[in-house]
């Protein structure tokens, strides 16, 4: 598993993503980091460039519709 960053580094990561929480929520942020990191580390890697994600854009789904 990826090494656990320091609390300051976790706070910086969150701020860079636009989330700057009050100190009383900081432990929740630290707990969430560990949980998320564990899951991210389990994503299979080494994929071919052209490996499509499981989402498809269908332009006709976004045509204006009147009911």
């Amino acid at each position: 598993m990826t090494a656990m960053p320091t609390n300051d580094e976790i706070a910086l990561l969150a701020r860079q993503a636009g989330l700057d929480l009050k100190p009383e929520y900081f432990q929740e942020l630290v707990d969430a980091y560990g949980n998320v990191r564990r899951m991210i580390d389990r994503i299979p890697t080494g994929r071919p460039r052209g490996d499509e994600p499981a989402h498809v854009f269908v332009p006709t789904k976004f045509l204006p519709v009147t009911e």
């Binding site: 993503a17 929480l21 942020l29 969430a32 980091y33 949980n35 994503i43 890697t45 499509e52 789904k61």
Partner: protein, 475 residues
Amino acid sequence: MDLPQPATQTDPSTLSIAELAPLLRAGTLSPVALTEACLARIARHDNALHAFITVTADIALNAARRAETEIAAGHYRGPFHGIPYALKDIVDVEGVRTTAHSRLMPETPATADAFVTRKLNAAGGILLGKLGTFEFALGGPSWDLPWPPPLNPWNTGFLPGGSSSGSGAAVAARFVPAAIGTDTGGSVRWPAACCGIVGLKPTYGLISRRGVQPNTFSLDHCGPMTRTARDCALMLAACAGHDPLDPGSADVAIPDYAAALTGDIAGLRIGLVRNWYADDATPEVAAATDAAAEHLARLGATVEEVVLPDLGDFCDCKTLISMSELFAIHKKDLQARPEAFGAKLRQRVIGGVFIRAEDYLNAQRWRGDLARLLLAQFGHFDALVTAGWLTAADPADPAHADFFRRGRNMTMPFSLAGVPAASVPVGFGAHGLPLAMQVAAAPFAEATVLRIADAYQRATDWHTRMPTLQPGAPA
């Protein structure tokens, strides 16, 4: 409003949709009398269960009177005409507040019906109210919100699962014969399993999500929750259908699901996914699921064990996708007023800040891998069967371990694959709590799922048992 006498065994509120429909059509039972009976049952018992957040008695009685007039005039709309139902309180009803069980939602009423509400009302359904949920269909069970968590009608020391907690509790308690839940990772099927009812997560896109508060756009489904597979078929037919204003909505013909319920499953090929539950489920869940699979074999199906990727792969993949989408939905509030969240919702959403675009897309690629592996099974099997949940219902105890951190939710594989899957009651365990199996099939093969569930219910009586409710404290 004058409430009728307390419910009895002969009270129409205890009947299924399939039992009620011919009585309503023939005029033997008035929709008004049925609605009053359900409202009386709610008034008598819901203070002990907290299934409802809002009871829409006036809307219900007006709709019931309209249904009575229409049916008497020969304008019978179909088997949902005159049937009371309720909605998880993330689904909009014009003129009624949608709370999402959250302080974050405005107190102003919704300005339009959700598409699913409109469909059910067009089919003649009688809306009785809005039901408790995990906050925004994710954060729960919670004791720090303005409404208490719903409790399990089979044993009020336990919870009804979630996130469609009130939907599961209300149907099991016979407050309504049918409810709508929503399911992103199992939120129809888990409460159905805990409450001993049938809950169907249909194919992604079969029921519109317009007017429903989002959890995860790429995984959100609405689904019917009823006591029998036949009722599920009737409700699904009433609410499925293409919605051009929901980009995820599927434009497919809606079959007569009830017509597929022949009771005959001879020759169907069923794959039993034991590796998802054999080692992790409680012994009573594992034994009940194995016994249900044996029962399906006795009914003529060919049941063969199949091994699929580890449950944890599906759960981690689904959770990463969900957390990322949830963060995008809730970030503004998380930054501006984190104290307004229930702690569980906040703690489940907050981690999304650490999921990069690259991680999200790689999780979606992983979803593709896992979905392909699961969907390939339908080249050999007509359906897959596995446990409904790894345990019976959790205790109603704020200190109980958070299911979200267990990371092994039986329902998530079928969520990721977007295929229809139903929870079906298969027995009772310790503390009188229901146990369940799941039945899943290929995309848009809801009729196969319901056919198997119905055949099983014809041969068993778990779904006919009724919880003994205690009167609640005065409101």
